[in-house]
Each structure stands twice: as C-alpha cells, then as structure tokens.
C-alpha cells in the first residue's frame, strides 16, 4: 500500500527515510506541534516550495532541461488565483476557476516556449526562458491596472480560511482550530497530493523515457521516441504543477506581488534547493526546500549574531553578515554541482550501498 502510494520509489536509505518521516510528521501536525504564527508561516512555505521545487526537479533532474521561467509559471498561477479572488469575490469557486485558469495559461505558455526553443539545444532553452521570464516580470510590474504593479494585489479569501473562523470552540493540544489551521491543511493536503502525483509521473514509463532522453537524446530518438514531444510534455507538466503551487501561495498569503512570486531571487532559490537537495530524486526537493527555508528563516539570525560578535575584524565580519548568506550558499551550490551532483539524497543513498 505504502509502496504503491510512493509509486515504488522508496527512499532507499534508512537515514533518508527517517528524515523524510520527521519532515512529513512535523508538517502534518505543524499547527499543534509548533505554536506561533511564524512557525506556521514557515511550515506552509515549506509545503508550497516542496511542490514548486519538485516540479522543477521533473524538468531539471529528470528531463535535463534548465529553465529560468519556473517562477513565471509560479507567478501565473498565483496571479490567476489572486485575480479570480479579487474580481469575483472570496468564494471557493473563484479559487478553483482561478487556479484552473492559471494552470491553463501556464500550460499554453510552456507549450509555446517549448515547441519554439526545445528543438535546438538545452542551452538555447535556458537563454530563451531567461529572457521571456524577465520580460514577463517587467510586464507584470508595469500593468498596474490589472496586477497592482509593484505593490501587488491584496484580496479576501473565503471566510472559512481566515483566523476569524472557528471550526469548533474546543481546543486541541492548546491550539484552537481556526480558519488559518484549515487553510494550512488545505495547503498541506494539496501539496502532498501534487508531490505524490509527481512521484508517480517520474516513475511511470513516461518518466523513464524522459531519463533516457536526458542521458542520450540521440539514442532515444533513434529508438523511436519523439524527443521534442517528451521534452515539451515535461515542460508543460512542470509548468502546470508550478502554477498550482502558485495558487496555493496566493490563497495562503492573501497577497500576490512580483517580489513573492516572479523575482529572479526566487528562481535562484529554487535552483539552489534542487541542486543541494539532489537532482533527479524528487525526495531531494523535500530535503532541499525544507533545509533551505529553515536556514533562510532561522540561520540568518544566527549569522547576524556571529557577525556582530566579531565586528572588530573588518572584512570577515562583512563576509558572514546575515545578508551575505547567499554568498555561502552560492559556494555550496558550485561545490555540490562538482562533487556531489546528486545532492544530499544521492549522498545518503550511496552511504548505504
């Protein structure tokens, strides 16, 4: 049963299994285990980014395609839901049709870009997506009549998902089950389903073919698989899942703006999470996203403290200032591409073998 749920792709390492279980259980009971809004925010962010990063892994790790437009699809989903909620009122119906519309637009965009640029070379696709994504981000911040420009959109979500709503008055483990908790579980459940679905996809014959295309596209073509078709389908799939993750973010934050969805920083974050977690493993997305967001939320404070402790040393204190943590992540990123391209997950699996 469990094996079927994971599509036969078990973690294959005791340490990894333990880590994944800890993450799953903590996320599943986050509202009760970790009181306080900040930790719930972090937990929801982790759920959303696991989906986002896993969908990117489908592209990067399984299909071997580098795209810089993943935040564009993420943003399309978020803006779709946001626009639906702000134009047709806070109902569940508008969430559904907004997400569906966002996913559809993302799929069309991905199809267009894919058919257009995947015929040539992986490098071509990377450059085209970079250009298109930044043009899109500029366009969104300029079309302020529709998207609210740089300020983004604030909107209401259904009352059942706001803190004002109480499911019942009794408390469970000292936490009242309000709309925010329900909202969290909406995010968690959808994220879990999407992740399991992605796991299903990469372990299907389609996923295997995708890996074959990644490893040797010439041979795959010679055997009779239409490489362009497989690559484009993978791009569309990952775009749709990214758009759905964007919808989750839109519902959770009740705000959608360019900085939270479209910025290049988020794209770089996604890249870092995939590579550090482990490309082409799916579970790498879980570890990568979790570690990265925990570090982003908590480690920065630690670095700030360390930096002010040695503020007398001029350059060194600048090097470990809290704002400079991306520097060290960048170094870690380069090192992990060189020395363990399969990331943490690959390392853990190898340790057992």
């Amino acid at each position: 049963m469990l094996k079927r749920l994971l599509s036969g792709d078990t973690p294959r390492s005791p340490v990894l299994t333990a880590l994944l279980l800890v993450i799953l259980l903590t996320l599943a009971f986050a509202p009760f285990l970790l009181p306080g809004t900040k930790s719930l925010e972090t937990a929801a962010r982790i759920c959303i980014f696991i989906v986002l990063v896993a969908s990117y892994d489908l592209l990067l790790g399984y299909a071997g395609i580098v795209s810089f437009a993943h935040t564009m699809f993420f943003g399309i989903g978020a803006y779709g839901t946001a626009l639906a909620l702000s134009s047709t009122g806070p109902s569940f119906l508008s969430i559904v049709w907004g997400s569906a519309a966002g996913a559809l637009v993302a799929a069309l965009f991905a199809l267009a870009i894919g058919l257009f640029s995947l015929r040539v070379k992986a490098i071509f696709f990377a450059m085209v997506t970079l250009a298109v994504a930044s043009a899109f981000a500029v366009l969104v911040s300029q079309m302020s009549w529709l998207t609210g420009g740089e300020d983004g959109l604030n909107y209401k979500i259904p009352r059942e998902l706001t803190p004002a709503f109480k499911l019942f008055s009794a408390k469970i483990f000292g936490t009242s089950v309000n709309g925010k908790v329900l909202s969290y579980y909406l995010v968690f459940t959808v994220a879990l389903c999407l992740f399991l679905m992605l796991l299903r996809v990469v372990n299907s014959p389609f996923g295997r073919t995708l890996q074959a295309v990644r490893d040797n596209d010439f041979r795959a073509e010679a055997i009779g698989y239409r490489v362009v078709w497989y690559r484009t389908t993978a791009t569309v799939m990952s775009a749709v899942v990214a758009a759905l993750a964007g919808s989750l973010l839109a519902v959770w934050l009740r705000y959608t703006g360019p900085a939270t969805t479209l910025s290049m920083e988020i794209m770089i974050d996604i890249l870092l999470m995939v590579v550090i977690g482990g490309m082409g493993t799916m579970y790498g997305a879980v570890l990568g996203a979790t570690l990265f967001i925990l570090a982003q939320t908590y480690l920065q404070g630690l670095m700030g403290a360390a930096s002010s402790a040695i503020s007398a040393v001029p350059v060194v204190s600048d090097l470990i200032a809290a704002d400079r943590w991306l520097l060290w992540l960048g170094v870690l990123f380069i090192l992990s591409v060189y020395f363990f391209p399969t990331g943490i997950v690959g390392r853990l699996r190898k340790a057992r073998a």
């Binding site: 992986a122 520097l327 170094v331």
Partner: protein, 342 residues
C-alpha cells in the same frame, strides 16, 4: 570516354541566394526606416536612432565575448553578467578616486580619467575571467547542464562579493564634465556621451573584425570555432587559445560595464544580470557563435527598444522578445548560424 571529358560546371549563385546571404544586413536600415515612418518627426527620430545605436553597440561589446566563447568551446557563460557588474564597480571606484580629473574643465583630463578607469576595469575583469575559467568553467567542459548551473553559481557568488566590498547600495557617479550635455544637430539633441559610445563601439567592432579576419590568432580562433579537434591535431593548444579568448571576452564585458554605468550614471550589483537578458537576446538573434550576427542583432535590439520606448514605453522589453521570435521563425539558428564541422 576519352574524348568527352566532363567539364566542371560551376553553378552561378542565383540572385536570390546572394540576397539571402546579405539579407540580415538590410534589416538594420529597414528597421531604422520603419522607425522613421512610425515616429514621423525626423529630429526625434535622429535622437532616438543615435541612442539606439549607442545602446546597441554597448550591448554588442558585452555580447561579443560571450558569443565567441560559445563558438570556440561550446561553453555558455551565464555568469558573464558578473564581469559587467565588476567592471562597472571597479571603473566607478577609479573615477571617484580620480574625481579631480573627471570634474576638471579640460577635455583631455576627462578622457584620461575615463580611459584609466576603463583600462583598470578591463584588467581586473580580464584577470577575473582567468580565475573564472580555471576554477569554475574548466572542470565542466562539454557538459551543458552543469555549465549553466555552475556559471549561475559563479554569478551569485560574484554578486554577493560586490555587496561585501562595495556595500549593498547603488553608486551614483556623474559623467565627466565634457561628456555631459548634448549637441544640437538641426533640431535633434544628441547626447555627447552617446556619440562617444558609438565611436568606441565602432572602433572596437572594426578592430575585432580585423583581428578575427587578418591575424594569426584570429585565424586560429575561426578555425577553432569550426573544428577545434582539427586545430588541436595540427599542434595548437586550443585550451590556451580558449583561455585567452575567455579573458578577452571578460575584459570586454568589463569595458561594457563601465560604459553602461556611465550611460546610466548609476550602478548596482545586479546590473550585470539585468543587462544579460538583452545580451542573451542579441546572441540568440545573431546566431550562437557569430560575431557579425551579434553585431547586427545588437543594433536591431538597440534601435527597436529605443523606438518602442518612445512610442509605447511599457512594451520595450517585450518588443525585443518579439523581435527574437520573428527572427527565429525566419532563421531558427539565428541570423548567421555558425556551421560546425562535426
């Protein structure tokens, strides 16, 4: 058999074929003409055209290194933008340091300050290119996926290091006295600095063309682009040649950074990665690896984005993407595809 020797038949190149070969050259005047028709006012058009050519040439300076590096070694450097930023920051530091020269009323001192800034910036970015090639690019030859990832990582690190050394804020520096203001040509006001940029860009393009076409190194580079294994088999060290080209490309990116910074009068650590979007569009339009294509692509992008910025400001960047799409539909490999003998 003996009597009727087969005559070699040399087919005449048909007119349409010859035109198709030259067609990309006609795009620039065609676009300029279309701009004139759309804008209507000739003096506004002249201002915009000079601005467009200046911008195009600056982008060309930054893009040329990237495209040759790709052509020669099949390496695409997503961290190229880092050299642009570093060049701008180093150049500006020198300009601030030489503040006396830059604000003096003498044209000579002004230009000397800019020249020193450019030379130092190019030296620093050239050396940085050396380190970048050795440490970051060399271990991942022939692996596109890793190249993209690793050079992207290099970009992140370089940007963060700029923050460490120069602080997180944007730096403003006014252009030297004699490069400020504009001259009137009829009714059209043309900024002096843009003319200087056009001058530097054109000279650089001609020098580069000369080096590539009529020197020994240029010959080797062109041969290497076509078939690097063959060049290696003939006893030349392609790797060393590549390192040289990489450093030259990085130095050019640094030069472009200083010029772009002086153009904007404001520099930020992420200016390099912002401008890279245009650079990539230019490189794709021109055909990966082709310097001439890159030149035409840069002019097209510069002109188009200045015209659209005047006519419809919001779609400036999108219009260049549109241009790229149209060109790729016409020639899927770019204007002048580089033929690989592999």
């Amino acid at each position: 058999m003996s009597g009727s020797a087969i005559k070699p038949r040399i087919e005449k190149v048909s007119l349409s074929d010859r035109l198709a070969d030259k067609a990309p050259l006609l795009l620039v005047p065609a676009l300029a003409l279309a701009g004139l028709l759309a804008i209507g006012n000739p003096s506004t058009w002249l201002t915009l055209t000079v601005a467009g050519v200046a911008m195009g040439l600056m982008v060309f300076i930054m893009a040329s290194g990237l495209t040759v590096v790709f052509g020669l070694m099949d390496v695409i450097n997503f961290g190229h933008g880092a050299f642009v930023s570093v060049g701008a920051f180093v150049g500006f530091s020198i300009l601030i340091w030489l503040g006396g020269w830059a604000s003096a009323p003498s044209v000579f001192l002004n230009l000397a300050a800019v020249l020193v800034a450019i030379l130092v910036a190019m030296t620093v970015t050239g050396l940085m290119g050396y380190a970048f090639e050795r440490v970051i690019v060399m271990p991942v030859y022939g692996q596109h996926l890793k190249q993209i990832l690793v050079t992207m990582g290099g970009l992140i690190v370089a940007q963060q290091l700029i923050y460490v050394f120069w602080g997180p804020d944007a730096i403003h520096v006014a252009r030297p006295q004699s490069l400020q203001g504009s001259i009137l040509l009829g009714n059209a006001a043309i900024e002096k600095y843009r003319l200087v940029a056009v001058g530097i860009g054109l000279v650089l393009f001609l020098v580069m063309r000369h080096i590539l076409r009529s020197t020994r190194i240029g010959l080797l580079v062109r041969a290497g682009v076509e078939n690097s294994e063959m060049v290696e088999a003939l006893g030349y060290r392609v790797k060393r040649l590549f390192l040289l080209v990489f450093m030259a490309g990085s130095a050019l990116a640094g030069l472009g950074g200083v010029m772009w910074g002086l153009y904007q009068e404001t520099i930020t650590a992420h200016m390099g990665s912002d401008i890279m979007v245009l650079v990539f569009i230019v490189v794709i339009i021109g055909g990966l690896g082709s310097v001439e294509g890159c030149f035409i692509g840069a002019l097209l992008v510069g002109l188009l984005s200045n015209y659209t910025a005047f006519l419809e400001p919001k779609v400036a960047l999108v219009s260049t993407i549109g241009l790229m799409v149209v060109i790729l539909m016409w020639r899927p490999q770019g204007l002048y595809p580089v033929v690989k003998a592999k």
